[in-house]
């Protein structure tokens, strides 16, 4: 995922010449002890997970000796926060804090902005959502010229920074803005930004997210998968990313939706097009089914790419149905989908998932030919006792009729589960 843990983000900040506390990551208590010895003096031991509220979760501890650092690390590394195991701690010098600030850069797509936006507040160290709106100074950053020092002076001055510190803050903001662009960040949040007793600015925390579309031009980051996932990447996510990463002929998007691979009424979800996918998600939820995964094969992908996505979707364990959700009048020639789906269903249904409900909706350009390919290619499976007995094929009469499609899928899934349960009892 293109989101860094705190210690990773800080390493990249440091490489860009932005001050961060002296520190090192550790995966064991022993490593934490060594890190504390290297730093010398009191240290903070901070659990590394992609979740806010780490203080409350008890995974940030201040200690005085390397031995205490080791036992704090042992305690923190044994925890999970919001379902995420803590695999590393960051051990870093305890800072002499005079004042805490908040600063972040985000993308603002609103039409008056269409640019990065910097937000600065003298109320640092707490959740920014709980800071009063008038205490947060916002400024758009010119995407061509970047944030200039005079912008930085303006920003700091509006926030009430005293005159003697204005240029210090301004050069910090300019540097941070350059780094934000250089690393192709989506979000860069420093909360808190610390002013120390001797007047230095140091980033005490760091939330850095890289733009998914920019990951390929930053091999130095070693990002394995550029997706925003509900949790840690699963096997499905890695396979999905490999399909997309190596083949630019149309979209073949695939990711997990937090399916545990056992819960009932999860559907192998294969919508066509991002818009169609939104409509399909809405209806699955309305009828009481759940998507096991998310997918999208659009932008005129080749058949082999569609085949790979469909095969992954259908191979998920214990799904109670498959939805080819083409809730759109596609501009792309739909016969590539028809060929790919016939091949996958012929491979999966007879041997692995006989009787699986498969509702296939395919509409738009070359629809008649595509539906014919599906009907002909699946005919011998679709007999009353055949492995394809719950395949149903629909075209443009139902293109926006999400409710009908959802209800068909639900009815077939209920029947399929009843059959499965009866077999278990038997």
């Amino acid at each position: 995922m293109a989101r860094f843990l705190e210690y990773q983000g800080k390493e990249w900040l440091s490489k860009a010449g932005i001050p961060v506390p002296k520190g090192r990551s550790a995966a064991t208590p022993e490593e934490a002890k060594q890190a504390a010895e290297w730093i010398g003096g009191p240290v903070a031991v901070k659990g590394q997970v992609q979740a806010g509220g780490r203080g409350k979760a008890g995974i940030v501890k201040l200690v005085n000796t390397p031995e205490e650092a080791a036992s704090a690390a042992a305690e923190i590394l044994a925890k999970t926060v919001k379902g995420l195991p803590v695999r590393q701690v960051l051990v870093e010098e305890k800072l002499d804090i005079k004042k805490e600030f908040y600063v972040s850069l985000v993308i603002n797509g609103a039409r008056e902005a269409r640019s990065p936006m910097v937000m600065f507040s003298t109320e640092g160290g707490m959740d920014i959502e709980s800071v009063l709106e008038e205490k947060i100074i916002k400024m758009f950053v010119n995407p061509v010229n970047g944030l200039q020092t005079y912008d930085g002076v303006d920003l700091a001055s509006q926030a009430g920074i005293p005159a003697k510190d204005l240029s210090k803050f301004a050069s910090f903001f300019a540097k941070l803005s350059q780094t934000y662009k250089k690393y192709d960040c989506q979000t860069l949040e420093i909360n808190p930004l610390i002013m120390t007793g001797n007047g230095e600015l140091i980033c005490a925390d760091c939330k850095m997210e890289i733009d998914n579309s920019s990951v390929s031009r930053h091999p130095e980051f070693g990002i394995k998968i550029a997706r925003d996932l509900p949790g840690e990447p699963t096997e499905l996510d890695y396979i999905g990313w490999s399909i997309e990463e190596t083949d630019a002929r149309g979209t073949g998007f695939l990711m997990n939706m937090g399916y545990d691979e056992v819960s009932p009424y999860h559907i192998g979800y294969h919508p066509i097009g991002g818009g169609s996918a939104m409509m399909g998600l809405d209806v699955l939820n309305q009828v009481g089914l759940k998507p096991a995964n998310y997918a999208d094969t659009s932008g005129n992908p080749v058949g082999s790419k569609i085949y790979r996505v469909a095969k992954c979707v259908l191979s998920q364990p214990n799904i109670d149905g498959y939805l080819l959700g083409g809730f759109m009048m596609a501009n792309q020639e739909q016969w590539h989908h028809a060929h790919a789906i016939v091949k996958v269903l012929r491979e999966i249904l007879p041997t692995q998932k006989p009787g699986l409900p498969c509702v296939l909706l395919l509409c738009g350009n070359r629809e008649d030919e595509s539906l014919e390919i599906l009907r002909t290619g699946l005919a011998d499976l679709m007999t009353p006792d055949g492995p394809g007995k719950r395949i149903e094929i629909y075209g443009k009469e139902h293109v926006t009729d999400t409710k009908f499609i959802g209800e068909r899928l639900l009815a077939l899934s209920q029947e399929y589960r009843a059959e499965k349960d009866a077999r278990k009892v038997g």
Binding site: G109, T251, M257, G274, A277, K403
Partner: protein, 298 residues
Amino acid sequence: MGILISKGTKVIVQGITGREGSVRTNYMKEYGTKLIGGTSPGKAGEEIHGVPVYNTVKEIAREHGEIDFSVLFVPGRGLKTAVMEAADAGVKYIIPCVEGTPIHDIMEMIAYAQMKGSRVIGPGSIGIITPGEAVVGWLGGNVDWANKFFQRGNIGVFSRSGGQSGTIPWVLREGGFGVSTVVHTGTEPVLGTSMADLLPYFEADPETAGVAVYAEIGGSQEEECAEVIASGRFTKPFVIYVAGAWAPEGQRFSHASNIVERGRGSAKSKIDAIKKAGGYVAETPTDIPKILREKIKV
């Protein structure tokens, strides 16, 4: 009429010799778009489906004068400079028909074009069509399909999804309406042109009697439309369908723009804003023509 493009619109294709560029050039030309040239550095003098190839956009401008539209099939890293090239040559509208462009490149190309007096549509748009007159991009797919499903009429259409920019004209056709112009605004989180920027165009177009929109979660385009309507700068019937109410928050999907963060960009926020401004919300796409039928006097 219609907006943005018509029969006389002078169009060029950047990246005309590539796989997509070549196929889509053929489609646009067959449909009747006035294609005056395309670019591919080092390939000047060649022809693609009868359209002359030049080295640069400036070469075309020197020969043909002002260029109205450039359609770009230049992927990824090359896109930013291709957009800058078009803006430097004075192209009025620049429409990059590719997805997955780095976000900082997108913001920079939009800002640069604006400084030069050009407007970017997209990136990530599949195009614009004014039925019977012209198409830019690949909206419609091929001439047979486009002729069958994009029928001329009096409804302006916006879509935030490439696929659904074909669906809305189809449900309108089933409901007895045709379309004046269909615009797919693109799928990126930052776009050069928002629906709200184009609403005044539909307001000014005598052929357009109302506007139908396929909308999705994420971003603020719908809320911006609500502002334009509430301020009285758009007065025709405005009907919107919003998809993605059930998509989980904080997750980004295959349209990079579909993300709801801390409640912002949610379907509810959009629906409430449009209703409050005096627009109409369709529960399903097929309700769009039903609502228009009530609101437009034939």
